[in-house]
């Protein structure tokens, strides 16, 4: 399991003015210190048109970077034109990232600064970390220096004019750190995908349950779904799903994800709808094949939109052997305006009784009225476990290639699954007044 992040404080700090300093404000002093330590460092940009004259062969180009404590990622804004892929490597554990440049050069012999465009990539950095248990330090040296080399490999006819590095603030959360906060009993999710990764193709399972349910991005276009650092619920990034490219995240099948009709379980996620949808029902979090041609028996569960505008959250328990057996539930009213592109929390709990009254659907922390979308034909105790992989952003349409259909359009963040029915209080805590909450160690109760 990837180590859960240490959460500090909100991303902004407000002056204390004259409020100091009774006991209540000791925490704000600490908050101020954390803000200074994690956010307040600038880094000089690379200017000088370093690679602009190289047009006949690819080159490497190296530069130094002084990385502060706590920095785990750096964003590079690269002003470039031409056509090709710039690769950036760091001396930190050989991290690597790439960015595609495809901006026309009017005259190859004289590349024009004016038509160069900005490109962005995010690089991991080895962070100087602190073990909160022992407070032992893991530092490169006692001079606090962490100097790395960034090496750019620039292909033929790609011109780089400037590179602006920016230390990304450490991912913040208002959650109390693990070991200090108290949690609801047995509230550690079996899988928790906080979209913490920010780069690469892996979508890490951050749950302290330790099931190792890491997912992998899948798309017909390389690199998608995109890590979107411009918007998120927590952690500084979400995943943006492009419907046309069938973007998805695939989590390999695991026994802990197999729920039958008499097993209580809960699915929770945050979504940010795109209005650029193509008019199809859409899978959000599904572990169910798309048809009997994909998986036999054809069965599973799904949280999905049962409308063509991604406005009606729905829940499905399904089995098709000799006939259809299903519990198909949907919100009675459309949950979102068509133009709504805000972040929303959707949570469905199921108590294992195979009936409509065993399902509760929450939108933004409040339960919503639900109804059957078709007659309830599911018998208690029916086995609906499936070998189909878990999928975020669609339904799997091929058991061998994991191709998808019914794709979702928009952003997704903070996906979690529990092997129990969450209480209303627990769902409220997960929603956290719209701020979300880190679920690695469970659902905080304070």
């Amino acid at each position: 399991m990837k180590k859960a992040p240490i959460y500090y404080k909100p991303g902004t700090w407000e002056p204390l003015n004259g409020q100091l300093p009774d006991g209540a404000h000791a925490g704000e002093l600490d908050q101020f210190a954390c803000y200074l330590a994690t956010q307040r460092l600038s880094v000089p940009v690379d200017i000088g048109r370093a690679m602009t004259s190289i047009s006949y062969f690819s080159i490497e180009y190296s530069t130094l970077l002084h990385v502060p404590q706590f920095c785990e990622h750096i964003a590079l804004y690269i002003k470039a034109n031409g056509s090709g892929t710039i690769t950036v490597d760091t001396s930190d554990d050989a991290y690597s990232a790439k960015v595609e440049v495809n901006t026309k050069i009017d005259t190859a012999a004289t590349p024009e600064y004016e038509n160069a465009t900005w490109h962005q990539l995010v690089m991991p950095m080895d962070s100087v970390t602190v073990d909160t248990e022992s407070r032992a330090l893991d530092v490169d040296d006692l001079d606090h220096e962490h100097v790395v080399t960034l090496t750019y490999t620039c292909p033929v006819n790609v011109y780089v004019w400037e590179v602006v590095p920016f230390f990304l603030p450490r991912r913040f959360d208002t959650t109390l750190p693990g070991g200090v906060a108290t949690y609801y009993a047995d509230s550690v999710p079996v899988g928790y995908w906080s979209m913490y990764d920010w780069d690469g193709s892996t979508v890490s399972d951050m749950s302290s349950a330790g099931n190792g349910l890491d997912g992998t991005k899948a798309s017909s276009t390389a690199g998608q779904p995109y890590w979107d650092t411009s918007t998120s619920v927590l952690g500084g990034a979400s995943l943006r799903f492009d419907q046309a490219d069938l973007d998805a995240v695939i989590v390999p099948d695991d026994d802990v994800l197999d729920f039958s009709t008499d097993d209580p379980f809960t699915i929770s996620c945050w979504i940010k709808r795109s209005t650029d949808y193509s008019g199809t029902v859409a899978g959000i979090v599904t572990k169910s094949a798309a048809s009997s041609g994909v998986d036999s028996p054809y069965e599973g569960y799904a949280l999905w939109f049962n409308d063509f505008e991604q406005r009606r959250p729905s829940f499905l328990l399904y089995r098709q052997v000799s006939g259809v057996e299903q519990l198909r539930v949907q919100a009675s009213a459309l949950a979102f305006a068509d133009s709504d592109t805000d972040w929303h929390h959707i949570c469905v709990t199921y108590n294992g009784n195979s009936d409509l009254d065993g399902v509760t659907m929450y939108v933004d922390g409040s339960s919503v009225t639900i109804g059957l979308a078709s007659p309830d034909t599911l018998s208690a105790g029916t086995d609906i476990t499936t070998a189909t992989d878990l999928c975020f952003g669609g339904f799997i349409n091929s058991a061998t290639t994991n191709s998808r259909i019914l794709p979702y359009a928009g952003n997704m963040d903070e996906v979690a699954i529990w092997s129990k029915e969450l209480s209303a209080d627990e769902v409220t805590a997960v929603y956290n007044s719209g701020a979300g909450v880190n679920l690695s160690n469970g659902i905080p109760s304070t």
Binding site: H25, A26, D30, Q31, V45, T52, V130, V180
Partner: protein
């Protein structure tokens, strides 16, 4: 009195600072964290990557004399920093002769407080070397110069230079009142279990953090062209202002102006100018900053090269959104000549003005 200066910032569990929590070593950690921020929280002031046309970059002329190959006009950081840490990526193509990379201050030129970094023979490209150079904190601005001396054979290549104040491993017990908000170190016995952090000491911790907040916004440009390839980067012959550089700048919370320095030169007769502005200045209709280039060139980077260190000049204005930790602005640099001669920008450093608080 002993004062703990930890080698890293130690986050404190938020719940440990609540009103219902007993006072224990948490507050000693908080005090030590202010020491860490004071002694180690700082960014680079110089990051320059040299370049060349279709070949590796080369510096160093003949083996008997060094020359200034690059320079940066910067603002010294003030206490507690006493030394610059200088890092460079280099290559020495000689199989037998060492080379030397020297850094000194224009305020205290070599051989006073310079550092000579030995570059061993047969060193492959992008090898990191480093040295330290004393800081002269009495200067409002100072110029760090790089001198290159290759060996009798081979070439010395310098690819990249970075200069950052070296972290202090100890801090003095004296009060530092740089730009207001005094930093008052906290002795260990003032925060022992028998002497918990009092209201007075909490105020002191807050003042210490405000000191860091005000004085460490950092730098956003630390660039020099190189003497050997000095005509390659930014220049114009245009009689109209030509935009040669425009890049985003991430403005730290509370910062409203950028200070700057530049080195300029012009060939032949007539006038040449550099003009700078930010998007904020554009938006509010403020005048750009204009500086004049000087004519001639006799010795690379040591004469006939005008330096502006913004003394008597305006600062570049920037806007920060009070609701965000950082906001973004753009810096635009333009050059103008007379239509026939050439104006060059040889160096540009921009740093954030002390934060108003």
């Amino acid at each position: 009195m002993a004062r703990t200066v930890p080698s890293a910032f130690v986050p404190i569990d938020y719940a440990e600072t609540g009103t219902a929590r007993p006072i224990d070593d948490t507050e000693a950690i908080m005090a030590a964290n202010t020491h860490y921020l004071y002694s180690a929280h700082r960014g680079a002031v110089v990051r320059t990557t040299f370049r060349d046309k279709d070949q590796p970059y080369t510096v160093g002329f003949n083996p008997s004399s060094a020359q200034v190959s690059a320079l940066w006009c910067i603002e010294p950081p003030g206490e507690p920093f006493e030394q610059w840490a200088v890092y460079a990526l280099v290559e020495n193509t000689s199989t037998t002769d060492g080379a030397s990379l020297r850094f000194d201050l224009a305020s205290d030129p070599h051989p006073g407080t310079s550092t000579d970094i030995y570059v061993a023979p047969n060193l492959s490209q992008w090898t990191q070397v480093s040295g330290v150079l004393d800081i002269d904190n009495t200067q409002d601005t100072d110029t760090i110069r790089m001198w290159a001396l290759k060996g009798a054979t081979g070439d010395l290549h310098v690819h990249s230079v970075m200069i950052v104040p070296r972290a202090a491993n100890a801090i003095a017990g004296s009060v530092n009142t740089l730009n207001g908000w005094p930093f008052v170190p906290i002795d260990d016995d003032e925060v022992s279990q028998d002497a918990p952090l009092s209201v007075r000491l909490r105020r002191r911790a807050h003042s210490n953090m405000m000191h860091v907040y005000r004085n460490r916004p950092g730098a956003c440009v630390g660039w020099s062209d190189d003497a050997d390839r000095r005509n390659e980067a930014f220049s114009t012959t245009s009689s109209n202002f030509e935009e040669v550089l425009r890049f985003p700048v991430f403005i730290p919370k509370g910062t409203t102006s950028l200070r700057w320095s530049a080195f300029l030169r012009k060939t032949g007769s007539g006038t040449g100018k550099m003009r700078m502005r930010t998007s904020t200045m554009d938006a509010y209709g403020q005048a750009a900053i204009t500086a004049d280039a000087v004519n001639g060139w006799s010795s690379p980077y040591t004469s006939n090269l005008v330096k502006y260190d913004d003394v008597g000049q305006s600062a570049l204005s920037a806007t920060t959104d009070p609701d965000f930790a950082v906001t973004q602005d753009y810096v635009t640099v333009e050059l103008q000549s007379n239509g026939s001669q050439t104006v060059y920008l040889y160096g540009l450093c921009i740093w954030f003005e002390v934060v108003e608080a």
